[in-house]
Amino acid sequence: MSEIAITVNGAKRVVNVDDDTPLVWILRDTLAMTGTKFGCGVGVCGSCAVLENGTAVRSCQIPASEAKERSFVTIEGLSPDATHPCQRAWLEEDVAQCGFCQPGMIITACGLLRDSPDPTDEAIDAAMSDSVCRCGTYPRMRKAIRRAAAILKEQKS
């Protein structure tokens, strides 16, 4: 057990946890930030995705010993009012069904759009296919990612 400092959504947080505690449980149990979901614990579903330097990473696969001194953005940190381009696009395309996997999906899409601002269908498939939505919102997510790309482009110009 040790005291570690991590930055979450721009705020420095000091937590006392075992070294092997996965980041997802630091966020959910220690910091009571439940927007990041647990779905499998073994990195095959993507529900727990968070951003680090704009890249989507799986918080169930990052133990505290590795998370320390690093900075993460969770779904709660994307915007204060659901106005991030991905969140807007998700709402405008009416993507969500049960919604449980959607924070992870939105975070994963953010990571994709940072690396590839105008992604092809193949790039979207490649980036999103490590994540699971059991309700089957994939057709709408595809549209939402294209829409988010368009919003981002508009914001830049």
Binding site: W25, D29, T30, V44, C45, E76, S79, Q97, G99, M141
Partner: protein, 722 residues
Amino acid sequence: MITSRRAFLKTAAFGGASLVIGFDGSRLLYGAEAKPGTQFQPNNWIRIDPDGGVTLTIGKSEMGQGVRTSLAMILAEELEADWSRIKLVQASPSAVFNDLGTGGSDSMRDGWRTLRKAGAAAREMLATAAAIRWKVDRASCAASNSAIVHPATNRRFDYGALVTDAAKLPLPKDPPLKSAAGFKIVGRRMPRIDGRDIVSGKARYGIDARIPGMLHASLERPPWAGAKPKRMQEAKARAVRGVRMIAKTSRGIAVVGDTTWAAIKGRTALAVEWDDPPADAFDSAAHAKQLEAASREQGFVTRKEQPPPGTGAVAKTIEATYSYPFYAHAPVETMNCVADVRADRCTIWVGTQAPNKLQKQVAELLYTTPEKVEVNLTLIGGGFGRRLAVEYALEAAEISRGAKAPVQLLWSRADDMKHGHFQAASVHSLAGGFDAQGAPISWRHTKAGSFHNISPLDPKEVHDAAWYQDWSWGTYDVPYAFPAVQTAYVTVDLPVKHGPWRAVFAPSSVFAREAFIDEMAQVGGADPLAFRLDLLKGADIVKAGTTTIDRRRLRRVLEVVRDKSSWGPPLARGRGRGVACNAYFGHTYIAYVVDVAVDPNGKVRVERVVAAVDCGIVVNPIGVEQQIEGGIIWGISSALGGEITFRGGAAQQNTYADFAVARMRDTPAVEVHILPSDTPEPFGMGEPPVPPIVPAIVNAIFAATGKRIRHLPIRAEDLKVT
């Protein structure tokens, strides 16, 4: 802005301790913040406060079908409520709300019948109250946007101003309902009421419940029914920091800790070793053989129609056997429940499709009465029938009782995969007969399957035709006009847990039926879509058991997919197009045309799906489209993804890595055509999109490769070009 759900959750599970027991249905409606006598609450579903705030109660569980939105739309429509200002609360089981179950795709149908009346009654009372105040004729007043107006004199009362007067009026028995032409909300493309919460991570599911002083538990369950622990490392588990307790419960060995991670680590350290299963423990391969043998028995005949006089003799018969495996629900949110068992009461926070059953069973477990068990419903991170079972709440209650603290029990992904109640395997034997001219004249479909066992069957039930029909949707209700029809059901014992899964008994039966119809079309040298339309001629309305099928509606969805998909010419090499359709209980009619590509390695890709649906009145077109899309993806998972297999009585799969489900890369282009319907009520959409998609896929594969798929899931090696 609709914030109440957030607000009530805040006062319930996620806020101050003093408000922890916040919102059972009746208390909400007569809640502490309300002043009795000053608000208008004509029924269980509607409350109007003096400030004009309209609060609607939702009596179904939200699990992605958009039911909080669509039920509120029905209420707001008849109430003439201002949509932008309504608030929602979720009903909890109580003496008032004694039937809150969500399943069988009946929320819209149910809601349409009850909630329209509730809304209309409230609207009528408000209008009457205004007419009395103005001393004018009721008929000269109109309701609009949460107000009663008197156009002749340009006067207006907000609903809030009328609550005291309206509350004194008698409840109208048969309030006039709006005509469809006057609908302003029903039929609109309405975004999800909780959409912003979902995309910002604020939506609260069962797993997100946080109660002051709450501990966390992980439960090690016997891997096969009756397994006994041989040894375990209790000392090692106790040595894990944060582990508070190791408790042997009736359902397994629980490790309780301060955090989820402590519980998980403690359970790993406990390293329970279970004794070996007996040699005859359940094995799915052996079960499949048993089902296949059973499918050749006569079974209980669920429908028999003799050919009318003048029908020619059967000159040629084809036969085929279709087999269907076990599947898991595998919702992304694993089973979980928070229980807080105290000496004199119990409080539960849970995502469930069966709130009343859950309340009753927890009460029985705790030797108390249901009213002592408060059940707070959260959002559900995937239901699909899985959360009609309530064992995870019983587990949590038992652990909380032992821990003397509120406890959140969370299932691991592997727990969820191995201890589900599965979609049962089945085998279908089919035969089709042709007369000397090659016309299809007879149909036989025998299903060998198993009754649900997640709740005990009532031994007093009469096992008559209707009873067997209820276990074989999609078999006895074949919609096609064969002169001779025989359907039958053979029961095969199945000791592992199995129960409702999206579309319940229909997927396997419709897979076999719609694939075999294609085989008959091929033998008859007919186009499979035209063959179906030909078989849907004759009487427009047919009865099969308690199901009434309107063949006109089925023909129409087939014609629409035919026209919209440019059905007809064969596709390029390696590609194929298939069709299938179904009338779900005679309620919702769906047809699909599917395009697939099959590569030389046998890998199948579903490229495009054209769907046509007639689900009666459409309350929210977005919801209908989403359910079609989701049903298609669900079907792609079961056609091309994983299955559950059993060895030694235990399910062998652990995660999405070995029980594959559809991903973005498996997603086709989907085109949904919602047909205008002359049916005066809305029908369900959660389940109906599932059954016809898999047969449409296998029929497309046949068109692409000439190979019949009669076994699921589809394996590349079956289709590999050798």
